[in-house]
Symmetry: C2
Subunit: 696 residues, 2 copies
């Protein structure tokens, strides 16, 4: 008997189910599920008998516009519940306590979840043994495939709901009830996008499960634990969030060796300094001490250059293990439906044989080459221009102040900096919009490709913005002391600002603004609790978090030989960062949707590029080191020979790094074996099956 | 009715079939096949009815030792014909005209060929449409799968015979008839290796088919044609040979742009030279002219650096297309039986689930790191040592000659060179043996891995041997004129020697030594013709051919800015090289076995590494260019600034090359689509098939 189906799909208003007097048996069942289910009945009926379940878990909340009329809401609920062949999403929808209210709660029946699992290419345990790409036909052989709450993680279930809703396409031309004719759906129109632009849907977010969240936060950041509960994070927040925290974790502990080295170098060179002072005057000792400092810095630099490669290679291995563990190693995004925003002429996909929009690769390449690259270049040029203007202005006001020396000129001293900051911020804001439209214009088929291209664009710009000044100091001004000062202040200021924005502000917000939501009593209707969640700000995404790490990593690797304590400062920062980030995502924002991903995507490449660029900068900085400069001035080595030596060292280091990167396999051996095993079995399967797909 | 089977597998001597009076029907059939078949009867019986064929094509000749006793030969013929489950090769064997003679002719029945085609992972046309990995179960859907001579190329059929013979393993302990007990076969012993070490089998080679060979040579090198018949080459000689010739072809035509550029630069700088002479004395003109020469050389260098990357990337695309065309894009060597020489503890392969020897990866890595790398390093060190001794000796005898100036000292002048040549040759010979044993010791599972590691070892050494002197001149002596002289003489000498060894000698050999074999009359017994083929020398492999190209490419890319005519000389050389190489492989050697390969393997990497190394050498040579040196001496630019500029240019060029390499996809778009299509269909197949393989 279906408890989940309290409402007819076809039949009129869904409010009938919610308001009709409950039968005794229904009452019992309703009580039974009351602890786990906010709304025991009122769900749309499931279409297939195997999906009938007593427990319907509210997964996603869809927030409608204030002015949406009841008939539109009823139509939408019916659509969400309709089977996919009728253009629906084959999900379960609930109109909330008040049928005319502006929320719809959505859940997913078993069959829809399983089919989407196959479509996304998620891997699950096959008969308790290995991970295997899930197959709907073979579902009975997969472990726990009868219990969705164990089989799929919460994040996966919620993402699947979003995936199905996003993917709904009109099967024929259709008027939306309660909307003007201008919003008529045409054949193959994306329903969800249309409803969004019509203002029917204003928001959609996955629901928190307070009990689970409490457990998670306890294990994650409340105590003094060193390890993060990454599997639970993956289960609750999804793999893209889990990958960020795994990387943060791995990166933080990888900072230990350079931190220790930096500390000891600083300690010993401090010792040496003191020795030097005590034996001042003796030229011989002095030279020796100096060479000790030089070699200390050099050891630090060479170590950190090699360290960064080893670190990235080991991370790739860890990332592959995690991705296997979380079932995202063989994601089939290429073979799934294109992302909603993708457009093109409808045709037959040569790979999957499905009818869908197609967009030629070369056209995308052309758009990237002729539009995106020049525009990004232009913005980078504007950054440089801004910097040059800043320096010019700086010089001007300095001159002015020297000439006049009044209060006005004193104030004017701050003008260039302020103008530069304003200019930079405006540029960044403009750039973000431009990057979004450019990536949209590039028309990527897969969500991940879209994300990666967008991230790459913003990343390059942001990074350039952060580092342009440092590079200017290092390569043009060639002023190592200034660089050191700047770097140290950046590191410390960044940390203070971070700690403030990420610990203090959140705490205050939580204490004085979010607190009312937490005082909600147990007796409050579930719907109000859901509604409360929608009052939290939307999660801003992981870009800011990743770029913070990348900039850190840039300070560390690009200019490590200048300031040996960098790694230590970063280590301290990151240990708290783990906790504050965890706190932020758990408490301060709405839960984000998180697509299953197999790795960090473009961020991994960014870190690797930095790691190679670091060789160039470090060799250059070593060349600039005062000790070497002194050697040149004393005429003990010609500047040409030192330069040649630096070039030689640089080439050797790059070679070593390349070889290291090639020698350390990107995947642990056991994963490679599993991958080969899967390739082999699918090859065998292809051979045994008489390729029926060719006929269909 | 089986015509192919004239002899009982189980029953006694195979000579019975050959000598018994022919029945009338047999006579007719024998005549019928006489034109295509040398030996119409006397073949072992085929075991399955579908393979019965009137035509048995002799594919491979096995040459036995002189002292092999008839019972051993009979046993071997029986074994070759026995089905695989009994430890045989499931092939067809023929004892030759004279049953006690020392040859066995081997052919393959349809089923064995088809099964091996699947095992090797060869792709064939599926129902006239796309290429698909061949599947034995699905054989009826593949085009021409009933006619082996169309379905598989000659080279593939011959390789499969070798593959099956090489792969025979004893199913139980077995005494070989006619051999002493010390050659008893043990369970899982490789039969063919054992027979080789027992002296039973002295040789094995694929047979030429004179008619086909004639057609091929006509289309290939007899006329003035510009294009090579690469598909026919692939069909007759197999993909590894075809890949060499395709690369040679592609490389030769790719030399056109640098050749034209080099020619025009030489022409114009010659013009300039003349102008300079005519207006000699005018300082201003002189400087201008010089800068013209400088920029000419620089254009050449920059062009050739970028050209080499574009060339390699385009070759990769061409290589992918060829490999698709020749059905070797999805070779399944990893999943096939390990190579005969592979040993290890017998266990279950975690990927395929088959019982076979296993050898842990880490142990191989360890052997490579701790044994192979140091030994190779040692030999490279010996090369350097030899070179240093040579220079030292050279200096000594020069001094001696100056002091004494006698006939003796005159002769002594040649001593260091001669000693060095002897030393180098001895070292090279020793190294080849060492490399072979090292690679054997590394115990690679796949034939291709073995080949690649062996090639890589010899390659590094040979290359080092060739280029050590040039690098010494360029980087230590820093003597550009000497380098130019050396390079020009190397190029011209190499070409003359090549033309001589590859055109004149082959012609003489063919005219006066091989000629007798060609005068054989049509009426000669086929067997004698086969035997004649065995008198030709064995094909020495493609290593020498590839290394010649690599060394050429090295001259061209590493030192291109020194001698702009390099490309032109190489172009001329290669146009004739194509013909002489083709002539050599067709006429002067036994036909080689050629495993199906998907690309050039390690050679591709070698070319790419050279292409990147070329940036370093070229920038360095530009730095050494007399014009720049003069600028420095005249004090118009500091040596430090010029060095910095060179480093900057070098980094920029490497960056551009990396970006170019990343931007040009390694596979044409259509192949990528096909590959994705295959991935998709096998994923689908895996899902639909209820993974029976897990149970078996």
């Amino acid at each position: 008997m279906s408890k989940a189906g309290g409402d007819e799909i076809g039949g009129g208003s869904s409010s009938e189910g919610a308001h009709q007097p409950e039968s005794p048996s229904e009452k019992v069942l309703s009580k039974l599920s009351a602890t786990t289910l906010p709304i025991g009945h009122g769900w749309t009926k499931v279409s297939c008998p195997c999906c009938v379940s007593e427990r319907v878990e509210p997964l996603v909340l869809v927030k409608l516009g204030e002015k949406v009329r009841p008939e539109t809401k009823r139509w939408l609920i019916r659509l969400i519940g309709a089977p996919q062949k009728d253009g629906g999403a084959a999900l379960l929808a609930h109109p909330g306590e008040d049928t005319s209210g502006n929320i719809i709660v959505v859940s997913a029946p078993r069959c829809t979840l399983l089919r989407a699992t196959e479509e996304l290419g998620l891997c699950k345990f096959y008969r308790n043994e290995d991970m295997a790409a899930f197959s709907y036909n073979d579902r009975d052989n997969f472990k726990d495939s009868d219990n969705m709450e164990v089989f799929l993680t919460l994040a996966e279930r919620q993402y699947i709901v979003k995936y199905e809703l996003d993917g709904m396409r009109a099967q024929r031309d259709l008027r939306i009830p309660g909307l003007s004719d201008s919003y008529t759906l045409h054949h193959r129109d994306n329903v969800w996008q249309k409803l969004g632009s019509a203002g029917v849907i204003v928001d959609m977010f996955p629901l928190h499960i307070p009990a689970k969240l409490k457990d998670l936060s306890k294990a994650w950041y409340s105590g003094n634990q060193l390890a993060q509960p990454l599997d639970s994070v993956n289960g609750y927040f999804g793999s893209s969030v889990a990958f960020y925290f795994s990387f943060l974790d791995f990166y933080t502990w990888s900072l230990l060796p350079p931190a220790i080295l930096g500390l000891s170098i600083t300690y010993f060179s401090g010792e040496v300094q003191k020795d030097m002072e005590s034996v001042s005057g003796s030229g011989v000792t002095r030279v020796e001490d100096e060479s000790a400092v030089v070699s200390g810095h050099m050891i630090q630099a060479v170590f950190s250059m090699l360290w960064s490669t080893v670190f990235m290679e080991l991370w790739k291995r860890r990332s592959a293990s995690l991705s296997y563990r979380w079932g995202t190693l063989y994601l089939a995004e290429r073979f799934a439906e294109p992302r909603p925003g993708f457009h093109g002429e409808v045709g037959v996909n040569p790979v999957t044989g499905r009818v869908e929009p197609l967009f030629p690769e070369w056209q995308r390449d052309l758009r990237m080459a002729l539009v995106s690259v020049p525009v990004v270049g232009l913005f980078l040029g504007l950054v440089v221009l801004g910097m040059l203007c800043f320096y010019w202005g700086e010089a001007q006001v300095q001159q002015l102040h020297k000439d006049w020396d009044s209060l006005l000129s004193q104030t004017l001293l701050y003008l260039p900096s302020m103008l530069h900051i304003v200019y930079t911020n405006m540029l960044a804001t403009a750039y973000r919009t431009v990057a979004q439209s450019l990536t949209e214009y590039e028309n990527h088929r897969e969500e991940s490709a879209f994300e990666n291209h967008l991230t790459a664009k913003v990343l390059v710009f942001t990074f350039f913005n952060y580092f342009a000044v440092l590079f200017h100091i290092a390569f043009f001004k060639q002023d190592v002391p200034l660089l050191r000062k700047r770097l140290a202040s950046l590191l410390i200021v960044t940390q203070l600002v971070n700690q403030f924005t990420e610990v203090v502000i959140p705490y205050l917000v939580d204490r004085f603004i979010s607190a009312p939501y937490r005082t909600e009593s147990e007796d409050d209707p579930e719907e109000d609790k859901f509604r409360n969640q929608s009052n939290l700000p939307a999660f801003p995404g992981l870009f800011a978090e990743y770029i913070e790490l990348l900039v850190q990593f840039g300070y560390l690797s690009l200019f490590s030989c200048v300031y040996p304590l960098t790694a230590l400062l970063l280590l301290i920062n990151n240990v708290t960062e783990i906790r504050t980030d965890a706190y932020k995502i758990c408490k301060l924002f709405r839960k984000p949707f998180s697509p299953p991903v197999a790795n960090m995507g473009v961020w991994q490449i960014a870190f690797e590029v930095l790691s190679f660029a670091s060789v160039v900068t470090n060799c250059w900085l070593m060349l600039l080191s005062p000790q070497l400069q002194e050697l040149i001035q004393e005429g003990r080595m010609s500047s040409k020979n030192i330069l040649l030596l630096a070039v030689l060292v640089e080439h050797a280091l790059i070679l070593v790094k390349v070889i290291l990167a090639l020698l350390i396999p990107d995947e642990p051996n056991w994963i490679q074996k599993k991958r080969e095993r899967i390739e082999y079995t699918s090859m065998q399967a292809l051979r045994q099956q008489k390729q029926h797909s060719e006929e269909s």
